[in-house]
Symmetry: C2
Subunit: 154 residues, 2 copies
């Protein structure tokens, strides 16, 4: 693999970690209430402009969509359709998928794909949060999980 | 906070973790080559349809954008503009921000915001990968980092 050769070269690269996912939202209070309703803990680092949620591993940020586009120096588009990115939460069983999708729905999410057997051999469903950001809840019997439920990729 | 009350109730929620970020891409080989050029390690779990990269914490997946939209049961839109989500990599110094942005640029990324002092007191820049997905490289002197460079939110 190319990357391994490059690593041996000791070249400067980009650290392989994703520290933060920030979702652009229309209404910060409303969006934060949704994630709290999932049972997620708002971090004390939150302020009037950004809400932080602690997760195992990557932190989740909620931020004004307009301000996020501006921060990234990108024009915001009117479309709120598929943005080319999904986020996934892996759970231990098919029942846990159903339960999590149900919990999200009760929190106000839109179920965009009811849980079902997936052609890759697992079981998954999708919900969209209040701003349309797509989350997959999946049971993947082929992926090992380690501490805190994080995946252990081979 | 609402979420803490709910947790005490023992209600079923959604696990607070982000296992996978999947980026929809136009050309899988080309996109994978870009992330390898950043120095990231392709996982042996990769196959002809999906490329997996190991990161500290959340796994990064690359997948056909069209297939990803289909998997999420969402219509894909022609626009490749801002999708309302950014990903951030935190590094230890301003110099490390400059170096990582430079490394990304050499790997073929477009620098969409040259590194600069941020109004929140840190230092950051943005690049877009080959499919336009926005990554921020940031030095945030106010956030503690723990093992593997992951953030420790209060």
């Amino acid at each position: 693999l190319k990357c391994q050769l490059r690593r041996k070269d000791g070249a400067v690269g980009v650290p392989a970690r994703i520290n933060i996912i920030t979702l652009g939202v229309a209404d910060l209070d409303r969006a934060a209430g949704f994630y709290e309703a999932l049972g997620w803990e708002r971090s004390a680092a939150s302020n009037d402009d950004i809400c932080w949620f602690k997760t195992a591993g990557t932190a989740l940020g909620l931020f004004s969509r307009r301000a996020l586009a501006e921060d990234a120096n990108l024009p915001d588009q009117s479309s709120r359709g598929f943005g080319g990115i999904t986020m996934a939460i892996n759970v231990d069983s098919e029942t846990a998928v159903d339960e999590a999708i149900g919990a999200a729905q009760r929190a106000g999410a839109t179920v965009i794909k009811a849980p079902r057997k997936a052609d890759w051999g697992g079981y998954s469903g999708y919900f969209a949060d209040l701003d349309g950001h797509p989350w997959e809840i999946a049971h993947n019997p082929f992926f090992e999980t380690g501490p805190e439920g994080l995946l252990r990729l081979p």
